[in-house]
Symmetry: C3
Subunit: 282 residues, 3 copies
């Protein structure tokens, strides 16, 4: 049988000793655990960023994989640590809604949540500033040894949810906003093909902030280097990209920038809201 | 028998969910695969950078290691995905010449190339923007399970090559250029000891751009902190370094900067070309 | 039995091929070795940074774990490579004092040091600029195969130590300085609870550089976003933080900034020394 996998997702960077400490504690409890780094470069305290990341990446993993997620601005307070079964994955997360989007993407799959409260699976002295090392890491180690989720603490039915901006209908169009900017500067919106079903075969006009995107393509390289294009990203959401360039830098836009897709004959005359007004940074 | 190793080399960064998705898909196909990160910090779309990286690092690995390389500005077009046996290693690469330098460094070793086209080893729905997740990752997983390279698609004998600038002779000297800048800012040229064989025992004078490098050493610490020196790097190529400093920042030079090595009695009076004219960024 | 673990700690970054080369060499000697990245983002040549990192992280690992540490400004000179048993861990390090702080934190545990000099465990051609690949990596591979430390070379009793600034008593207080800045910009000092024992129950007044820190908390989230606070970090040292912010950027302070903790009734009138005068960067 394969050695158990434990993935790590944090906002710790790697120049500080935090991630290394977590790895040591896990391996001290289960020397056979195989630790897989997902990322340590979540922008500090950014719950929306980690939520998008998890919703995209975790469904790719084999069922029952253990995922340790430590983006935790409230460490040391009364916020709970949760063990969550969702989308056939097992997550250890702070109760801050970082898994809301993942759950929302898999609405028909059962969710089971346990509050991680049983101290015999924690380190002897729990620091109020580093639960990653003192709670998440040892609990992950014990889970990988076969401890049942139910031993970690009581099942609960209430937890915190992270609200997400939802794309909405306007006359002959859909209005959404940018919810993620990837490593290449691609601006990914909350507009899915389902939002655009009513357009049928009519051509789509895409506007981001006050910039009309000249062309819609299927793959980046259908246009030439430097062109601004819209396309459906690998996550199935409408994005704006600069071919072999960086749309976020080129257009000076970021998370929260408004996006409008229209299929009527006349371009809307309603101005888009200022991008800074749309989404408070989390 | 040891679990099979799959290495990853990308320009994806880790803050975006791309690398994590690839890891999940591989582990879903072969739970025993051991994934080894080589780098996810190749500068976006930079084919020369990844080529140099692969030529340096891959020969260190045990024979038949599987290497997944996704630096792929043409994703979604007709460019092929290749499975390449070269230098005793197995590479999955876009057909963009990223392995040309590796092959050129091992001219006597056999090369076998297959076009990865058999869809039963791909994911069911292949996104036109993320072949890393939908083609490279599952194919790597199946290769690690023992699938034969020949099952992936037809053998081919034509593929794309990436041209590299070659150092050339001038009167009593060699003229080359910087082809890689490493993490410490060391400026690595395309001038090897073989290029300099004719110099014999005569002292060498090294000029980079219009800066005469005052001293040649064998190891960085032979000179004192802050000194500008030339030496043969661990890759066997002539480099310019600042001891415990950053030569690229100190001299404000980068890939493409011209380098001249002379062994005659009189210094050449021919000016070096402007560094910016030498090598278009890839 | 679990496959042997080898951890890596370097200042190499990952965009250059150095780390990948080290991984390849290790796996070529022991295909069963499990390589665990601790960090490759130590600031170049920064011995104090790596020392603090090792002192924090290594005690979390199971006994006898093999740790390869390559922060090595003197590569290619007569400085030795050491194999050190300390704090129940096994380290391969350049002899530059990078493990002094780890040893000082575990004063009662035995230390055994061997000079790594036996060339049959090195690569055939040792580059004077890359001992990580040519000495550290193969020696780690052989250690993981069960080679005894004593076979690597002679035991020694003299090695280099890295001096650290020590907090000192002043009238009704303790004067220390910042010794590490973490990924979140938290300013960590060399002042431990033991230094403050004499204060008893009296309230503490913390000053960093010339900034009086208004509040002491137990966990970051006890204050509100943006507040400047002091607290004991997860390493047990007094730190200054900005809640969900970056104290180093906010206060424009870094390693070497002076810190004063007072418990007398009157605030000291002695000015703090300029922060730049305290600690030469290593």
């Amino acid at each position: 049988m394969a050695d158990p996998i434990i993935t790590l997702t944090t906002d710790f960077g790697t120049a500080s000793p935090f991630v290394a400490s977590i790895k040591g504690i896990i391996l001290g409890i289960n020397a056979n655990a195989r630790i897989v780094d997902l990322t340590h470069e979540i922008p500090p305290f950014n719950l929306r960023h980690v939520s998008f990341f998890l919703a995209e990446a975790l469904p790719c993993f084999p069922p029952h994989t253990i995922h340790v997620v430590v983006v935790d601005p409230e460490v040391g307070t009364q916020r709970s640590v949760l063990c969550v079964h969702v989308a056939h994955q097992r997550l250890l997360v702070p109760d801050n809604g970082c898994w809301s989007l993942l759950a929302a993407c898999h609405p028909t799959q059962p969710v089971k949540v346990v509050k991680v409260s049983e101290p015999r699976f924690h380190r002897a002295n729990v620091s109020p500033t580093f639960h990653g090392r003192d709670i998440f890491a040892p609990v992950a180690g014990y889970l990988s040894l076969g401890i049942n989720q139910a031993e970690l603490g009581p099942a609960i039915t209430q937890w915190r949810k992270l609200p997400w901006p939802v794309a909405g209908r306007v006359a002959d169009g859909v209005r959404g906003e940018i919810i993620f900017v990837d490593h290449f500067g691609n601006l990914i919106s909350n507009i899915s093909p389902k939002c655009l079903a009513e357009a049928g075969d009519r051509p789509l006009r895409v506007t981001i902030a006050d910039f009309p995107v000249p062309r819609k393509v299927r793959a980046y390289a259908e246009a030439k280097k430097g062109d601004v294009v819209s396309l459906f990203s690998s996550s199935g959401l409408l994005e704006v990209a600069v071919v072999q360039g960086n749309a976020s830098k080129h257009l000076n836009l970021n998370v929260g920038a408004p996006m409008l897709v229209e299929w009527g004959e006349r371009r809307s005359t309603a101005p888009l809201p200022a991008s800074s007004a749309m989404l408070p940074s989390s």
